[in-house]
């Protein structure tokens, strides 16, 4: 069988409503950016799910690995002073 290609892999991020975050929806195959964008539109917004789309070539994504997990994320677990609920406020103080 001769060589074939299903074109390149792209990751699709959809913003559901204007002002919201773009959230990963899945991937598509496409040879260029325009095609990736249109394919994403035709596949991931068939039910009116989108107001904006980003597409990124999959091989451009740099991801943390499993072995990074502890050193990346555990050190932030004890920094509870970053959260507003850490602070004790005097009775009666409002709008703070």
């Amino acid at each position: 069988m001769s060589k074939d290609t299903q074109l390149d892999l792209w990751e699709v991020f959809i913003q559901a409503k204007v002002g919201g975050n773009h959230v990963h929806a899945g991937s598509v195959h496409a040879s260029d950016g325009k095609m990736a964008l249109q394919n994403a539109r035709d596949i991931y917004t068939r039910r009116n799910e989108g107001s904006s789309i980003w597409v990124v070539p999959s091989d451009c994504i740099v991801a943390s690995t499993l072995s990074d997990t502890e050193m990346f994320f555990d050190p932030s677990a004890d920094k509870i002073y970053r959260h507003p609920t850490f602070y004790v406020l005097p009775e009666g103080a409002k709008q703070i």
Partner: protein
């Protein structure tokens, strides 16, 4: 080493219902099992477009035409979500299609049966999608993250498929004598193949052991089949359709239906390539894959041209 750093082994995660993700360490057998199952599932969605596609141009109303087209399009989309899920395991779509064409990968047996009349479109939606949904709902909890997430999306979208099929059946059972006869005939032909979709009985199922241990599957073939029968029989009764199984009986003790003997010889024949449409389905897929080759090559060439001009 990775396993030690993360502190949790593969089986620990499985046992604690923590999803396995693409970059996690996993046994080769788990990966192989998933690739086989997910690609088969993806191929089924794609090949499944053919029997229904056969009726798009003959749909008897514009509304029916829209619905059918949208439904088949969804199936293509579901195939695509599943191919993507399989790709995260390190197999390309190219390779999966090659395996399909070489007969190394399978697709659901049910699509080797022909869609002969418009009532078959109703029966496929009601019975075939109905059976598929039972299976897919249980797969939403499967242990491999990308597969589980694809199933969640698919189940959400599939919810209208079974309804549209049932609506067609109900409408025909409310129609002329010809229409009623057509509807019953379709049920007669699709009922048993739909039951076979759940696979061999638990006692004869070769892959079940590992699939359960790894929580790829969480319900057995027979459990799922029973669930399907129990919900479908009353739906048939509501619209006056007969289930073509003289041995079908409500079992008060089990609170479930007992069904007649499934013809596993037919199942084996169809799986081994001797169903009414095996050759036709594969020829169609190969033909259009080949006919599309020059288009994909043009797209690649255009991409390279863009790169050079930048």
């Amino acid at each position: 080493m990775d396993v030690l750093i993360a502190g949790t082994s593969f089986q620990d995660k499985i046992d604690h219902d923590i999803n396995i993700e693409p970059k996690d360490v996993m046994p080769d057998e788990y990966r192989t099992h998933l690739i086989r199952q997910i690609s088969q599932h993806a191929h089924s969605e794609v090949i499944g477009m053919q029997p229904e596609g056969n009726w798009i141009t003959r749909a008897p109303s514009l509304r029916a035409k829209q619905i059918l087209l949208a439904k088949i399009q969804d199936e293509g989309g579901h195939g695509l979500y599943l191919y993507s899920a399989a790709e995260t395991l390190g197999i390309s779509r190219d390779e999966m299609i090659r395996q399909l064409h070489e007969g190394k990968a399978r697709y659901s047996n049910i699509f080797n049966y022909p869609a002969l009349t418009w009532a078959d479109i109703g029966a496929i939606g009601w019975l075939v999608d109905g059976a598929a949904i039972v299976n897919q709902v249980s797969l939403q909890k499967t242990s491999y993250g990308p597969y589980a997430r694809a199933m969640v999306r698919i189940c959400k979208e599939e919810s209208f498929h079974q309804r549209q099929g049932y609506e067609i059946m109900a409408h025909m059972m409310d129609g002329t004598a010809d229409q009623k006869q057509m509807a019953q005939d379709a049920v007669n032909r699709w009922w048993w193949p739909a039951l076979m979709m759940f696979g061999p009985h638990d006692s004869d199922s070769p892959h079940s052991g590992a699939a359960f241990r790894w929580k790829i599957k969480n319900k057995s073939n027979d459990e799922l089949r029973r669930k399907f029968i129990d919900k479908t029989v009353p739906q048939a009764e509501v619209i006056g359709l007969r289930i073509p199984d003289p041995d079908l009986k409500w079992n008060e003790m089990k609170q479930s239906y007992d069904h007649g003997k499934i013809n596993w010889e037919e199942f084996r024949q169809v799986i081994n390539g001797n169903g009414p449409c095996n050759r036709q389905r594969m020829q169609h897929h190969v033909k259009y894959h080949e006919e599309g080759r020059w288009v994909r090559e043009a797209a690649e060439a255009y991409k390279n041209r863009l790169k050079q001009s930048n």
